[in-house]
C-alpha cells in the first residue's frame, strides 16, 4: 500500500519537475541555437533526477528495513516473553506481522495477537521513515536537476546516455539468466556430489531416490535407467514418428503442393506445435495409452501396463512433426534452384530429383534440424509425466513403462520436500545433465546449419 503511494508521489513529483524544467528552458529560448537541447529534454533530465534516485533509495530501504524492523520489535518490551528458540520465535513474529496487516484474521497463537499492535506500530514507523527518505531524495534530485537547466546544458545527450544505459542493462539480463541457470544448477549439483559420487550417479543402474544421508547413498542414485528412458522415448520412438512424417510433409509442401494447398496445410500443421504439452500429455494418457495397452495385450503380452514408453513417445513424436517439417522446409529451400533444374533438365522425374539431389544436398540442414528436435524431445516434460511412468527400468520393450530425466525432476521436487535432502539435490544434478546435453545439441546443430548455409552462399 505505502509502496504504491510512495511510487505515485515520486512519479507525480517527476511530472511536475518535467513541466517546471521545460518551462524554465523555454524561457531561456531566444532564437535558433540559443539552447543546446530542446526544452522537453530538459524536462526529461529533471524527471530522471527526481525519480531514479528516489526509487533507488526506496528499494534499498525495502532491502534493509526488515532487519531493522525485526531488531526494533525484539528490543520492544512486549517481545521479552517470546521463546528464545529461533524457529518458534520466527513463526510467531511472522504471524504477528500477518495480523498487523490483516487485523480480521484469526490469531493462531495468542502471543502473536498481543504483538500485532506493536508490530504494526513499528512497521508503520519504519515505512514512514523510508517514505520520508524517498521524498527527500526526490526533492534533492529535483533541486539539483533544476539548477542544471541552462542554455548551454546538453540535456539531450545526458538523457540519451541514460537511455543507452537502460538498453545495455536490459540486454545483460540474458547473460544474467544464463549465469543464474549455470550457477544454481552447478551449486546444487556440487552439494549432491558431496554425498553421491558423480561416477555412481552417471554409471549406476539402480535408481531409488531416498532421503537421509549415508555412505550407501550412491547405490540408489544410479541415473542410467533415466538416461536410457529419456533417449528411448525422446530420441528413438519420437524420432521414428517425427522424422519420416515431418520430412515427407516438408517434401510434399515444398515440392508438390499447390500454393493454395500450402496456404492451408502449413498453418494447419503448425497448430500441432501450438497445442500445450499438457494437452498432449492428457491425450496420451487418456486415449493413446489404453490403445497401446490393448494392442500389447492382443500381441500376447502379460499384464501390459497402462503407462508405456510407446504411448508417450508416439505422442511426443507427433508434437515434434511441425518442428522437423519446418526445419526440413528451410533446408530444402536453401538448396540452390540451379541444382534442382540441372537434374530436372536431364529428364529425371521430380521424385528422383528430390531423392537423389535435393535431400542429399539438404542433408546437413536436416540433420541439424533433427538434432534440435531431439533436444526438444528430451527436455519435454508434461507428456512423460502424464504418460510414461515412474519405473526406472532398463528395457528395450516399448510397451514397458519407463521413466525419464524430466519425469524424475518433477517427481523429486513436488510433494513434500525438505530442501537439503539428497532427493531434491539430485533433481538439480539431473537438471544439469539435461541442460548440458540440450545445450551441446543446440550448439552443434547451429554450427552445422551455419556451415551448410555458407556452403551455398
Amino acid at each position: 500500500m505505502i509502496s504504491q503511494f510512495v511510487l505515485l508521489v515520486v512519479l507525480g513529483l517527476g511530472v511536475a519537475g518535467w513541466f517546471a524544467a521545460r518551462a524554465k528552458a523555454q524561457a531561456l529560448y531566444t532564437g535558433r541555437g540559443s539552447l543546446a537541447a530542446v526544452p522537453s529534454y530538459h524536462g526529461w533530465h529533471m524527471l530522471l533526477w527526481i525519480v531514479v534516485p528516489a526509487v533507488l533509495v526506496w528499494a534499498v530501504w525495502g532491502g534493509i528495513s526488515p532487519g531493522l524492523v525485526r531488531g526494533a520489535i525484539l528490543a520492544d518490551p512486549a517481545a521479552a516473553q517470546l521463546p528464545a528458540f529461533d524457529m518458534e520465535r520466527d513463526a510467531i513474529l511472522a504471524e504477528a506481522s500477518q495480523l498487523a496487516r490483516n487485523p480480521d484474521a484469526a490469531a493462531f497463537n495468542p502471543m502473536a495477537q498481543q504483538l500485532a499492535e506493536v508490530v504494526r506500530g513499528i512497521e508503520t514507523r519504519f515505512a514512514m521513515i523510508g517514505a520520508a527518505l524517498a521524498a527527500l531524495t526526490a526533492f534533492a534530485g529535483g533541486a539539483f536537476g533544476y539548477t542544471r537547466v541552462k542554455a548551454g546544458f546538453p540535456a539531450r545527450t545526458r538523457v540519451e546516455r541514460a537511455t543507452l544505459m537502460t538498453l545495455l542493462v536490459a540486454s545483460l539480463i540474458a547473460i544474467l539468466t544464463t549465469a543464474g541457470i549455470v550457477i544454481s544448477l552447478v551449486y546444487e549439483t556440487g552439494l549432491f556430489f558431496r554425498h553421491v559420487s558423480p561416477i555412481d550417479f552417471l554409471t549406476g543402474t539402480h535408481w531409488a531416490p531416498r532421503t537421509g544421508f549415508d555412505a550407501e547413498l550412491g547405490k540408489d542414485f544410479g541415473a542410467v535407467p533415466l538416461f536410457w528412458g529419456t533417449l528411448f522415448i525422446g530420441a528413438v520412438i519420437a524420432m521414428i514418428v517425427a522424422i519420416p512424417l515431418g520430412l515427407m510433409s516438408a517434401v510434399f509442401l515444398t515440392q508438390y503442393a499447390s500454393a493454395t494447398m500450402r496456404k492451408w496445410l502449413k498453418p494447419a500443421l503448425e497448430i500441432l506445435a501450438g497445442i500445450p504439452t499438457v494437452v498432449y500429455g492428457y491425450f496420451a494418457a487418456l486415449t493413446v495409452a489404453p490403445l497401446v495397452r490393448d494392442f500389447a495385450a492382443a500381441m500376447g503380452a502379460e499384464n501390459p501396463s497402462t503407462e508405456s514408453a510407446l504411448a508417450a513417445g508416439v505422442v511426443m513424436g507427433v508434437m515434434i512433426i511441425p518442428f522437423v517439417s519446418s526445419m526440413a522446409d528451410d533446408s530444402i529451400a536453401a538448396v540452390p534452384q540451379a541444382m534442382r533444374d540441372g537434374s530436372l533438365a536431364m529428364g529425371a522425374t521430380k521424385s528422383e530429383t528430390i531423392k537423389r539431389v535435393l535431400l542429399p544436398a539438404a542433408l546437413p540442414g536436416i540433420v541439424a534440424g533433427v538434432m534440435l528436435a531431439v533436444s526438444r524431445a528430451i527436455g519435454e516434460t508434461m507428456i512423460v509425466v502424464m504418460a510414461a511412468g515412474a519405473a526406472a527400468r532398463l528395457s528395450a520393450n516399448p510397451f514397458d513403462s519407463m521413466t525419464t530425466v524430466t519425469f524424475q525432476i518433477v517427481q523429486l521436487l513436488t510433494g513434500d520436500q525438505e530442501f537439503d535432502s539428497p532427493k531434491t539435490l539430485s533433481a538439480f544434478a539431473l537438471g544439469l545433465v539435461l541442460f548440458v546435453v540440450t545445450l551441446a545439441l543446440n550448439i552443434v546443430a547451429l554450427r552445422v546449419v551455419k556451415k551448410y548455409r555458407e556452403a551455398y552462399d
Binding site: 529560448y29 535558433r32 539552447l35 530542446v38 526544452p39
Partner: protein, 255 residues
C-alpha cells in the same frame, strides 16, 4: 549574380573503409550561392566524399576520415562538434527518395520539431508551408497534408525529401544523384528547384549526367579513383578541360 561566400573548406581529405582507401588527398571549396557538381565514373568516391561533409559516414562501421573539413572555419571532425547540429546545418537528399512512412506534414515537421524551431502549432504550420512551397510541392499537396508521404509519386517524394531538408533551414544541401530514380519531367522540376535554392544555400550535387551537371552547376569537380582530377568553373571543365582524363570522361570515351 548571387553573392558567393565560402562555406565549406575541405583540405587534404583521405577516407578509408577499413584498410581500403576510398578518397585520396582531396581539397575542395564549397560556397553559398553556388551549385557544385561532383562527377566521375562509378565507384570513384563521390558519395563517400559527399557523406564526409555532414558526417553521415559515421554510421558506416570501419570508415575513417583524415584531413580537415571546416564549416565556416570550424573543424567538423573536432571532438567538440555536435553531429546533430552539424547535420541540421548541412542537410542531405538521397539517391532514392526516402520519405518517412508518416503523413506529409509530419515528414516536414519532424526536423523542426526535434530541433525546437517552432514555438507553437502556428509556427510549425508556417514552417511546413514555407518548406513545401520552396520545394515546389505545396500546390500539389496542400489539400492532403495528412496523407502518407509514401503515397506520393517518385518525383513528388523526392521534392518532399528536399522540403524536409529545407525545413530545418540548413546552410548547405548535399544531394546524391537526386534525380536518378526520376523521369525527365520530374528531373526538370528538381533542376529548376535547385536553381531557385542556390540563392540561399550552398548546394552540392552528385550526378552521372553530364548535361545535368552543365545545366545546374557553376562549379564542377571531376573525381577519378578517389582523387579530384580537376576542379573549377563548370563552363571551363566542359568546354576546355585541362586534363586528358577529364576530357575523355565528359566526351564519353570511358566511364
Amino acid at each position: 549574380m548571387t553573392e558567393q561566400k565560402l562555406k565549406i573548406a575541405a583540405r587534404n581529405v583521405n577516407v578509408f573503409y577499413g584498410a581500403k582507401q576510398a578518397i585520396n588527398d582531396v581539397s575542395i571549396d564549397i560556397s553559398t550561392g553556388v551549385v557544385t557538381a561532383f562527377i566521375g565514373p562509378s565507384g570513384c568516391g563521390k558519395s563517400t566524399f559527399l557523406r564526409t561533409l555532414n558526417r553521415m559516414n559515421d554510421t558506416i562501421a570501419g570508415c575513417r576520415v583524415e584531413g580537415q573539413i571546416a564549416l565556416d572555419g570550424q573543424d567538423i571532425y573536432a571532438s567538440g562538434m555536435d553531429v546533430v547540429e552539424l547535420r541540421a546545418r548541412v542537410g542531405m537528399v538521397f539517391q532514392k527518395p526516402n520519405p518517412f512512412p508518416k503523413s506529409i506534414y509530419e515528414n516536414v515537421a519532424y526536423g523542426p520539431r526535434i530541433h525546437g524551431l517552432a514555438g507553437n502549432k502556428a509556427d510549425m504550420d508556417a514552417i511546413v508551408e514555407k518548406s513545401l512551397r520552396r520545394a515546389g510541392l505545396w500546390d500539389e499537396v496542400k489539400d492532403r497534408l495528412a496523407e502518407s508521404g509514401t503515397a506520393l509519386s517518385g518525383g513528388q517524394q523526392q521534392r518532399l525529401c528536399i522540403a524536409r531538408a529545407i525545413a530545418v533551414s540548413p546552410e548547405v544541401i548535399l544531394m546524391d544523384e537526386p534525380c536518378s530514380a526520376l523521369d525527365p519531367i520530374a528531373t526538370a522540376r528538381i533542376e529548376e528547384l535547385i536553381d531557385d535554392l542556390k540563392e540561399r544555400y550552398a548546394i552540392v550535387i552528385v550526378t552521372h549526367s553530364m548535361q545535368q551537371a552543365a545545366r545546374v552547376s557553376q562549379r564542377t569537380a571531376f573525381f577519378h579513383l578517389g582523387t579530384v582530377v580537376e576542379y573549377g568553373v563548370t563552363e571551363d571543365i566542359f568546354t576546355n578541360p585541362r586534363e586528358e582524363r577529364t576530357k575523355d570522361y565528359i566526351t564519353g570515351r570511358y566511364g
